[in-house]
Each structure stands twice: as C-alpha cells, then as structure tokens.
C-alpha cells in the first residue's frame, strides 16, 4: 500500500463513525440520546479524528511473519493464540480447595453464544474423575418395565439430537458482597454449548415407564456420587443424556463420557459422569436438594425444588476492569438467557436505570440458550451507569436486586438473576456499579 492510499483510507475511516453516529441518532438507536441531549457535532468530529489516528509507524513495514514460514500443519489438537492470555477460566474468588470448587467462564473475553469447551464453567464436588468409557455403564431401574444397563457405545446408537442450551449454576452470584470485579466474577458460572445425545424420553421408552413413575433420581459416578431428583414431566419434555459438546466428546470436567442435561434447570441437576437413573414415585431429598440448593427466605422458611434459572442478562462490554479509550460512539454488548424459553427483548440504560432503550438482538434466538444483544451508546467523558434488563417469552421482566431482596431477604444465596450495573467513570474505567 502506498503512502497516498493509506492516508486516503485513514480519511475514510475517520468519516465512518460520524456517519454511523448520525444514522444512530436519526434511527433513535443511540442509547441515552434523549437523556443527555444531542452532543455538539463539531466536538464529536474532532474527537473522532484524533481517536482514530494510526500509530506513527509509517511507512508500514512488512512484518517478520510475512517473510518466514509459520509452524507446521496438523498439530494434534489446536490451541488459542498464545497472545490470548485473558481468555482463561479462573477459580471462583475466595476459593482455596480445588476438589469441591467452581471456575468461571471469562464472559468478558467471549463473543457470540457458544462457549468454547475449554472455557465452559466448572463445578465439581469431588474433583474430576478420569473415566474409561469402555468401563462406564448407565443403569435405568426402578419403576420401569425392564431394568437396563447401557454401554456408552449403545447410548450413541440411539437416535441422536443436537441442541444449543445454556447452563448456569444457581449461585451466580449470591446476594451479598464482595461484589465481583469482572463479568466473570459477577456471573461467570454460565456458559452455552451445542449438546448432542439422546433424549431421556427415548431411553425411558426403551425401559418402559410404569404409570406410578413421578421422579427420576439421577446419580453420577464421581466421588460425590452427585444425586438430584428431577420431576418426570421434565424428564419426558426436553432432558437429554449427552455425550458430545460443541461437536466433540464431552470433556472430563463436563461429565465424560455421559452427562444428564436438563435445559433451563440449575446446573447442579445436570448430573455429570451419569451412571444411574432411578425411576421412583418420590424425590430422594438428597443432600444437594435439601442442605444445599434450597433458597432460605428472610422468614426462615426455604424454597425447595427451585429448579428453573429465571430470565437474566449481563453486559460483557464494557464491563468491570475494562476501559473506554476514546470518546464517541461505542457498542454495548452482552448476553441474555432464560430457563423458561426464548429471550424476546433486552433493554439497556446508561443513566442508572432511569431511562431505557431497546437493544438489538443477534440471531439466532434459541430457547433456553444465550442470546447476544448489542446497543450503540455515546460516551464523552461523563460518568455513566450502564445496565441491561431482559424479558423472556413468558413476559417475565428481569428484576433489580432490591426487588428480589424485598421478596426473599439477603441470605437465599441461590437464583440471583438481578440487573447488574457497571459504572463508567470520567476517565473511561469500568467498575462494578454495586461497589
């Protein structure tokens, strides 16, 4: 590229954001325009020009990697660029033991609705068992016509289905400080993938359900022998026994070789290393569905079988510890999801929830899956309090945390799906709006 054409391209680049801004204002899509009034267009033009100036390393040099060979083809399993050092899972803040622990997905580093398998959040209660699939079995017994034992190979021979679903830990996060610094620390116990397996309905049909069957107690083969009871209506609806995630076999930390997948239900019910499905007429009242994963209200009574992860959203850009480095138009980005179905709308606010504007939803919008939203907003050095609010197909509106605390008190721990505020300070730094 010659110097002249480079300069020309630079001019073009500087014009584009302004044209985009005008379009956004005319179409009413710029968040906060009504609240803050129109900004002087000359100021915007001056700022935009300076902000888009290229680094003064002209003329452009041909880099070393263009003048040499790269690494060989066909490394056995591809890895991210070594420059992507922030896209990693982290042990949840404050945890020390790594055997009964959880790690967060780096939501602020991810795009789209699919979480890469190596970055999918984890929750283990007794470490990650390393299971040889040839030695693994799944047994279905109890209130069935026949008690059956399946090999993993046999499970894969049933008619397969592939579906995209989110999964979220019910403690994501609690209602008490310390408040997380990043999107991952605030809500990183949610991820989304395409799951492949067989519907539980198909397996139950193979065994033959007896009419008195009301619950299924699912059990894992890990050292916790994790156990949860699932209502039979849900089991016959959309529950799956999965063996693949995002096109490849499950990772050990996601339940290899088999896991239960219970769309929209809290993550703990998605039993990993699934070895047993006990069809019964009553729930087990296992430790995980009594001592844990019950929601203690302010009056001392606790909500049980609180399975569904209600509608929620989170702005991932800009989010905590990130920084806006120029004045002008930016794109707010985030994810929304609901255990009750599809996301129908996401609203965003830049003034702490006083005024709201509808965000654009990115296709595909799938039931019980992450949905991406985007909204343009303008920042000119003023302090902003940005937040998002999702609505699902049942009409449910994501609440503010105060509304949940009014209903539940502060110690229910699980199922905090409240609106998350981020503060953009006058120097562009973004911090948790609760802090």
């Amino acid at each position: 590229m010659t110097k002249k054409s480079t300069a020309s391209a630079e001019q073009e680049a500087s014009k584009t954001p302004l044209a985009r801004r005008d379009f956004l204002i005319k179409s009413g899509a710029l968040v906060g325009t009504a609240a803050f009034g129109l900004v002087d267009s000359k100021l915007v033009m001056a700022d935009t020009t300076s902000a888009t100036s290229l680094d003064p390393n002209l003329p452009l040099e041909v880099p070393q990697w263009t003048r040499s060979l790269g690494t060989p083809t066909a490394s056995p399993y591809g890895k991210p660029s070594t420059f992507e050092t922030k896209a990693i899972r982290s042990l949840y803040p404050g945890l020390k033991d790594t055997m009964s622990a959880y790690s967060t997905s780096p939501l602020q580093e991810l795009d789209g609705i699919i979480t890469p398998n190596g970055l999918f959040y984890e929750r283990h209660h007794a470490g990650v068992p390393q299971i040889n699939p040839a030695e693994h079995r799944l047994m279905i017994h109890g209130l069935t016509e026949t008690a059956l034992i399946f090999t993993v190979d046999e499970i894969r021979q049933f008619p397969a289905v592939s579906r995209v679903y989110f999964m979220e830990c019910s403690g994501n996060p609690s209602f008490l400080p310390p408040w997380g610094k990043t999107a991952a620390e605030v809500s990183g116990l949610v991820s989304c993938a395409e799951w492949t397996g067989v519907t539980l309905r198909t397996l139950l049909n193979e065994a033959g359900l007896k009419p008195e069957a009301k619950w299924i107690i699912a059990e894992g083969a890990d050292g916790a022998a994790m156990t949860r009871s699932i209502p039979i209506e849900k089991c016959l609806d959309d529950v799956m026994v999965v063996y693949s995630q995002n096109g490849e076999r499950l990772r050990p930390e996601q339940g290899y070789p088999l896991r239960l997948f219970v769309p929209g239900y809290e993550g703990n019910t998605h039993i990993k290393w699934l070895r047993r499905l006990h069809v019964t007429d009553a729930p087990a009242y296992s430790r995980e569905e009594t001592a844990k994963y019950t929601d203690l209200m302010a009056n001392g009574k606790a909500r049980k079988f609180s399975f569904v992860m209600e509608c929620k959203s989170l702005i991932t850009y800009p989010s905590g510890t990130q920084k806006l480095t120029r004045k002008g138009v930016h794109e707010m980005r985030g994810i929304a999801w609901s255990g009750h179905g599809k996301i129908t709308r996401v609203d965003v606010s830049v003034d702490g929830g006083n005024n709201w504007t509808q965000a654009r939803l990115q296709e595909p919008i799938l039931t019980k899956a992450l949905t991406v939203f985007r909204a343009a907003f303008e920042w000119n050095g003023q302090e902003l309090m940005i937040m998002s609010r999702a609505i699902d197909e049942t009409g449910y509106v994501q609440p503010m945390m105060e509304q949940l605390i009014d209903e539940r008190g502060k110690v229910s721990f699980y199922h905090n799906n409240s609106v998350q505020p981020w503060r953009v300070s006058s120097n562009g730094e973004v911090t948790n709006g609760r802090a």
Partner: protein, 191 residues
C-alpha cells in the same frame, strides 16, 4: 406409531428402509437387562420413607470412634466445622442475617444424612465405610445435635422415624416472586 418404511419405489432397488418418526418410538433393542444383584451394587439412594435403608445397626458410642478417626480432621472436635461445614449449631439462626445451616438447624430428614455419608464421605475416601459404620457415625452426628441419646442404638427404623427439627421448614418453588415491570422513561422518579 413409528415404523420402518421401505422405499420400494425410490429406493427399492437398494432394498433400503427408512424409519419414520411419529408420536411413539419403537424399542431399539439396546441395553442389557440388569439383574437384581447388579442393581443392588449401585442402588444406594435412600428417600425419607427409609425403605431403602440397608440392614445393619450400631451405637452412638461406636459412631464417636468412626467420627474421631474419619471425620474430625475436616469437621472439628465438636462438629463445629473447619475445612468441611459445621454439622451442629445454628438453632434459631435461620431468620437472622447470618444463618448457620447444619444437620440440626436445617436438614429436613435423617435419611439424607445416612445417604450422604454413605455415598460421599469421608471426603478423601468416599464409599469406604461399611453400612454399620455409616449407621454409627450418622447416630453420633444426630446425638451431638441432641436428637439421639448417648446410649442409643441406631438402625433403619431409628433413622426413618426420627423427626428432624426443621422438617416443616421447606416449601415448593413458588416463583416468579419478583414483579418487575419494563418501565422505559423516568423510571427512578416514577417507579
């Protein structure tokens, strides 16, 4: 009813058959019938009715010995907790801002305690205790919570018939409980 449809017109030459999906699925003939002995090897979940509790019995005193050798390192000399959670205390705390959820203050069923110890404890060596040892240490934990006498013998009926203090402390999910509305403008001034 689904079935096999043989494409005699289009695919007849190949003799191919294509399954058509319909309301009811066929049986695929996959899996092996499980014997009673096989089921017994894995069937360890115990519901509150206690019907699935295994044979066996022990004393609270025996339970103290099991506890002191297998549990004390994580749960503490007085079951007050440490690396592992507290197993006693917290009575009357559920309505405060610092609730302590223990076997005595929170767990609704004693069967759950037996089930959990048998399947998942000791943390470093799960499913290593005999049924008698599980009865024993279950009894000891209940005794420290003042739910069994020091000289009690513990068996299936003891566990199944014990009424826990917080058994009535739970209600089935009644959400949605929040009543947020999607206000669009001047929401903080006119909530």
């Amino acid at each position: 009813m689904g079935g096999l449809r043989c494409g005699s017109l289009v695919l007849g030459v190949l003799g191919a058959c294509v399954f058509t999906y319909a309301a009811a699925e066929p049986k695929y003939g996959l899996g092996t019938k499980a014997t009673e002995a096989q089921i017994a090897g894995w069937n360890i979940d115990v519901a509150p009715d206690g019907k699935a509790l295994p044979p066996g019995n022990a004393t609270v005193a025996e339970g103290e010995k099991v506890y002191m050798s297998s549990c004390v390192a994580c749960h503490g000399m007085k079951l007050e907790g440490g690396v592992g959670p507290a197993l006693t205390g917290g009575e009357g705390s559920l309505t405060t801002e610092k609730p302590l959820k223990t076997v005595g203050s929170y767990w609704p069923y004693a069967t759950t305690l037996f089930d959990y110890i048998r399947r998942a404890m000791p943390f470093q060596a799960p499913q290593s205790l005999t049924n008698d040892q599980v009865y024993a240490v279950t009894g000891y934990v209940l005794h420290i919570n003042k739910l069994l006498d020091a000289n009690a013998t513990v068996d299936a009926s003891t566990i199944a018939n014990l009424k826990m203090p917080n058994q009535e402390g739970f209600f089935v999910d009644d959400r949605p409980d929040s009543k947020a509305v999607a206000c669009m403008s001047n929401c903080l001034k006119n909530p």
